[in-house]
């Protein structure tokens, strides 16, 4: 199977989500952060030799249908458990970044048997014991890009991702993404005060990845996740901000591949 993904609009209930599907192997569902689905990236191509990657664009983001009825990340988590059913996966690995990581954690505590292995990448969702999660809506998109990454010059896909002036259509999508992120995370800001009580239920092997220079979500949140999840390990990448998959794509892909390569019970039925 080609590493190049195909695109599908997958209807979950009445809501269609734009989804990239590529690679071959055990299913891996990838949930993006508040910045939106950045497409088929270098780290995904590396994993596609061994996994079938499903990378949906959240409802309300990008080319997916609106879901203005959603009130929070718990709704999005329930939506993606339904997505897993709809695609025909009995179990899957789930990898989520930032708000996608929070979503993955909420899925894991709601239906732990559905998730084989869990990868949380700089997830929000917990109130930091020290410091604060940056108020991303208080800053302009340009400031936020600067604060999100550690060193733009070290990012191999920087030009492709951020080098061009957005077209009007891309600018409108960026606004749409930001609005949906606000809809899902405004209050309590970027966390669920009840999540910590449920995390011990998520007993699947879990890898938590953080950038040491993350200025959006304090690394202490990674320590909190690892303390609360029964089988979690924290790996911190040096020279990296809030976007490990983009800032350190090769190291990130290697970490994830090693973790997921452990014998798995993940299976995929025919759609």
């Amino acid at each position: 199977m080609s590493k190049e993904p195909r695109e599908e609009m997958i209807a979950v209930g009445g809501t269609r989500v734009h989804t990239l599907i590529g690679g071959e192997g055990a299913p891996l569902v990838v949930l993006h952060g508040a910045g939106g689905n950045r497409g088929w990236r270098r780290w995904m191509a590396r994993l596609a030799d061994h996994f079938t990657i499903y990378a949906p664009t959240h409802p309300g983001f990008g080319a997916s249908d609106a879901a203005n009825w959603m009130e929070g990340i718990e709704d999005l988590a329930r939506f993606y458990l339904w997505f897993v059913d709809t695609v025909g996966l009995e179990r899957a690995h789930v990898l989520g970044h930032s708000i996608g990581g929070w979503t993955a954690a909420e899925m894991a505590v709601s239906a732990p048997r559905v998730i084989d292995r869990l990868v949380l990448v700089a997830p929000v969702g917990l109130k930091p014991e020290r410091g604060e999660i940056l108020d991303v809506f208080y800053h302009s998109p340009a400031e936020l890009t600067r604060l999100t990454v550690h060193d733009p010059k070290s990012i191999p896909e920087w030009e492709d991702l951020y080098g061009q002036t957005p077209t009007p259509a891309q600018a409108e999508i960026a606004i749409r993404n930001r609005e949906m992120a606000a809809r899902l995370t405004w209050r309590p800001y970027m966390h669920n005060p009840r999540l910590s009580h449920f995390l011990p239920r998520a007993s699947m092997p879990t890898l938590v990845i953080w950038g040491r220079e993350d200025r959006i979500v304090p690394v202490v949140c990674g320590e909190q996740y690892c303390r609360l999840l029964p089988r979690a390990t924290l790996r911190v990448l040096d020279g990296c901000g809030h976007l490990p998959p983009i800032e350190r794509p090769d190291a990130f892909a290697a970490l994830v591949a090693d973790f997921l390569a452990t014998p798995s019970t993940a299976s995929r039925s025919q759609r």
Binding site: F137, Y138, H139, R178, E179, A181, A182, R183, W186, R187
Partner: protein, 376 residues
């Protein structure tokens, strides 16, 4: 045309430049610069000025509400309306307005406005606003829900005033199992409703459909005309005729015995147009606050921001009307002619404009300007 007196009750009691190190005077400027002693004196002074405006014949007294900003420390429009209801005798009390989307309890809001209406003997004009973004931050209410909450809060307040209780309200944003307010307005079916606007076609259309008095704030005349067209579009949808009583406009204005004195006093409005509006776009229009239609309207019109206009530009554009009674009466007549409005709201005190200057301006407006334009 009817005149309304309005003060934002500013708290410009700190050194110029004290706020320069912060992103904005709103939200970010530390309240260590707030002086309770000076505020005590100012509130009394501002209320005295409203009292004089009532005595000299202004048709109405307008109050508003903002939060987390020295530009306006009137933090409860309804509280001020209640006070004015007791200390004034004749003028309408225009609350413009209550910031509906940030309210968590519309029933309490309905009760407070009703109480002000009762205390004033039925003089309240009840304005409803969506607020600037700063208020959404202050209340930590999700701005993507701003319009939905505005409309639902409005609907529940109206139901409180017009439907005998008890009843149940289960909406999207508001949930009350026992609604039965024991405080209802004197005016029936309810106080007249007013709505301001600056750039939202949806608000103008909505107000037009419902027949509310619609008032653009501090926008160029051509933009006000276009917003009035949206208002008429809404009115036409329900077959309602639009009269000048449905339309108002807000400008800053001061008068004095000489043109030079008035122009000098008018400079105080620059603080309101510039420093107090400085700040990141995210403060004033956070994510989700503006619809795509609103964005398109703003992009199409692109008015020069008030903050970047010189005092001379503001005077030339009639954002600030400062002059002798004859001069301001002439400019007011021009606006009446240009816009077909029945109500002119005067933001008539700002920044460090002192008490004697403000009182003299109020006096001259009442004695000379108001009679000159009342039949126009």
């Amino acid at each position: 045309m009817k005149l309304y007196y309005f003060s934002e009750m500013p708290h410009h009691e700190f050194a110029d430049g004290a706020g320069d190190a912060y992103p904005s005077l709103r939200l970010a400027f530390p309240n260590a610069h707030f002086s309770p002693e000076k505020a005590t004196a100012n509130y009394r002074r501002y209320l005295d000025e409203y009292q004089l405006a009532d005595e000299v014949g202004y048709h109405g007294l307008m109050v508003n509400e903002h939060h987390s900003t020295p530009s306006c420390v009137n933090v409860s429009a309804n509280m001020t309306a209640g006070i004015l209801g007791r200390i004034t005798r004749r003028a309408k009390i225009l609350i413009l307005g209550n910031i509906l989307p940030i309210q968590d309890n519309p029933v309490r809001m309905a009760e407070e406005i009703a109480m002000a209406d009762l205390i004033s003997g039925g003089r309240v004009l009840s304005g409803f606003v969506r607020g600037v973004g700063v208020e959404s931050w202050w209340a930590n209410v999700n701005p993507v829900h701003n319009r939905e909450r505005f409309e639902e809060c409005h609907d529940l307040i109206l139901k409180c005033w017009t439907t005998p209780g008890p009843f149940r309200w289960e909406g999207r944003h508001y949930h009350f199992r026992h609604v039965n307010p024991w405080c209802l307005p004197l005016q029936k079916p309810h106080p007249p409703i007013w709505v301001p606007g600056t750039a939202s076609p949806e608000t103008a259309i909505w107000a037009g459909r419902l027949g509310y008095t619609y008032v653009p704030f501090l926008v160029p005349v051509d933009i006000a005309r276009e917003l009035f067209d949206y208002y008429r579009q809404g009115a036409a949808e329900v077959g309602r005729a639009v009269t000048d009583d449905n339309l108002g406009f807000l400008v800053c204005s001061v008068t004095a015995d000489t043109q030079a004195a008035a122009l000098e006093a008018g400079r105080h409005f620059v603080w309101r147009m510039g420093p107090t509006l400085r700040g990141p776009a995210e403060f004033f229009s956070p994510v989700g606050m503006q619809s795509s239609a609103g964005r398109r309207f703003a992009l199409k019109k692109q008015p020069v921001p008030l903050a970047s206009q010189s005092y001379e530009d503001l005077v030339k554009g009639d954002f600030v009307i400062a002059g002798t009674p004859d001069y301001v009466a002439d400019r007011f007549a021009h606006l009446r002619q240009a816009l077909g409005i029945g109500h002119l709201l005067l933001e008539a005190q700002e920044s460090r404009m002192d008490h004697p200057t403000t009182m003299r301006s109020i006096e001259l407006m009442g004695q000379k300007v108001s009679p000159a334009i009342e039949d126009q």
